[in-house]
Amino acid sequence: MDPIIQTTKLTKIYHPGKNSEVRALEDVDLIVPGAGLTVIYGPSGSGKSTLLALLGTLERPTSGEILLKGVPLSRYSDAGLSRLRRTTMGFIFQSFQLIPRLSAWENVAFPLIPLGISLTERRNRALRLLEEMGVADRKDHRPEELSGGEQQRVATARALVQDPEIIIADEPTSNIDAEAVDQLLAIFSRFIKRGKTVITASHDPLIREKAHHLFYLQKGRLVSP
């Protein structure tokens, strides 16, 4: 069976050929076999976020290939990658990236807007997830009215709203307290039990302890820790 994600000689160079050239990733060969928690760690500037952006199809590599369940991503057009993100991926960002002027449930339901789902259905789905995340009572609050942990759970609910197979989380615990980290890990655990994959970049030892697959990045290359 094909691994869920595999990369071969993955390289990303920003501003190639210019004075400002940055070699963010070089020849990264990585295999995420299947369901579980995959943690990528390493010092700041080692290329963790770039790797997540590439695995999440938000950016294209300069060279090398990413295979998703054995299918090369280079085969996809931009529109195809958008469809893939919509059906397969959910993102959790370090600073949550909730839309400030929307309520918690509106933020969760936002990815569903172009899918032709009615407002009632969007709202019901969002409320179900907020309930699952334990923040249903904050459904009408705006992000600024929520604590860091609550914002994290709303962002997680948004990542799950399209029932993705993979969650990509960039430093998900860096802006929340220990209690919120435990809650997030519990959510990840429930998600993984359903046969899904979480790929995260994190410095947090608590996250690393729970990892099923660990990768260490240094200066854009995968190395042994």
Partner: protein, 378 residues
């Protein structure tokens, strides 16, 4: 309408309301640009409409005297001969009149010399009465107001200071044409211009004529009503004059407007676009979303500009603004400024604003999806 499109439309509307500070700033900026343009077009259409009505209700034929490329005299004998040739009688007849210009103190005014017995009805008056005696005149409303010409006031004109006129009445403010007009009898005008026995125009009322007869009359310098109508229309279709500075102004304002529309909340917009991108929205969906948002903002600006213009023209009679579009009108116009609001200028305004905001949002979508979207979200 698909549910998906309806969702995008309602979300775009929601975003316009949520970001009301930016939306309102854009709408007000574009309203400021569109307001004078829509007003100018409405006045131009109003003037044209008034002129066309005047031609339509005028005589079937008009003969204008011509001399060296300017208006010249037509002798009464020539008119008599034409009347006999056409075999006109009763209400189907030729009416001569003098339409000329003269100065009144420091102002150029129109002077109309008409035969009172051949005028269709009494002139609508604001004060005084119709002309009954010799050397009596009717004066336009603006002229009367500016120079305090009440009924009974006597004056002379620099072109013929020996003739003393008495104001019999003041014309009701009705249109641009009669606000600075002096009306007197045909014989008084002939004396004043020292053109006894001559007129400058002849209005010819006829029964419908066969086409060969029409061609014959056109050869004699008579202008049929249809042709006058056509010329007038052509003249008003020309987009020169006051509109040239307008187009220049619009072109000049487009650049800052574009910067405003693409720059206001640029970082937030880029971040939002990057976020939508990561949430699986396709570039097409984002474009539709942003286009709908631009459509709503531009519709708001065009509608507000039209409403402001309507309110200003109907409520304040174009105070302060009309003078830029109608010659010799003061800050507060003395007569009702004619306006006509048609859907096309509003539609054109909407398209103009839409294009500007749309180009701005294209840039935002492009930079939000192409320039390392992940970076904007970290």
């Amino acid at each position: 309408m698909s549910t998906s499109f309806r969702n995008l439309l309602s979300s775009a509307g929601g975003r316009v309301i949520r970001n009301w500070e930016v939306s309102l700033t854009l709408i007000l900026c574009f309203t400021a640009i569109l307001f004078p343009l829509i007003t100018a077009l409405a006045i131009s259409k109003g003037l044209r409409c008034q002129a066309l009505i005047s031609v339509q209700s005028g005589p079937a034929w008009t003969m204008v005297g011509e001399k060296n490329g300017s208006s010249g005299p037509i002798s009464e004998a020539a008119l008599k001969a034409l009347e006999e040739e056409l075999g006109l009688s009763g209400k189907k007849e030729i009416t001569g009149r003098i339409i000329g210009r003269t100065t009144f103190i420091n102002r150029v005014v129109a002077l109309a010399g008409l035969d009172p017995s051949r005028v269709a009805g009494p002139f609508p008056l604001d004060q005084g009465r119709q002309i009954h005696r010799e050397k009596e005149v009717l004066v336009g409303f603006s002229l009367a107001k500016t120079f305090h010409l009440h009924p009974g006031v006597q004056f002379s004109l620099p072109a013929n200071p020996g003739v003393i006129f008495t104001v019999a009445g003041v014309l009701k403010p009705a249109s641009l044409w009669d606000s600075e007009l002096l009306v007197m009898s045909l014989s008084e005008a002939q004396t004043f211009f020292r053109k006894n026995g001559f007129v400058t125009e002849a209005a010819v009322a006829t029964l419908p004529l066969p086409s060969d007869r029409i061609q014959g009359l056109e050869g004699k310098g008579l202008i049929p009503r249809e042709k006058a109508h056509q010329w007038l229309n052509k003249g008003y279709q020309a987009t020169g004059g006051i509109f040239i500075p307008f187009w220049i102004m619009l072109a000049a304002l487009t650049i800052p407007a574009l910067l405003i529309s693409s720059g206001l909340g640029q970082s937030e917009t880029t971040r939002e676009i990057s976020l939508l991108f990561s949430l699986g929205w396709s570039r097409t969906e984002m474009m539709v979303f942003k286009s709908l948002e631009c459509g709503i903002i531009s519709l708001g600006a065009a509608a507000l500009a039209t409403l402001c213009s309507l309110a200003w023209m109907k409520g304040a009679n174009g105070m302060l603004i009309a003078r830029f579009f109608v010659a010799e009108v003061g800050l507060v116009p003395d007569f009702p400024i004619p306006t006509r609001y048609l859907p096309l200028p509003t539609l054109a305004g909407w398209m103009f604003v839409f294009l500007i905001t749309w180009i701005g949002s294209l840039a935002a979508v492009w930079s939000g999806t192409k320039k390392a979207p992940y970076g904007a979200l970290r």
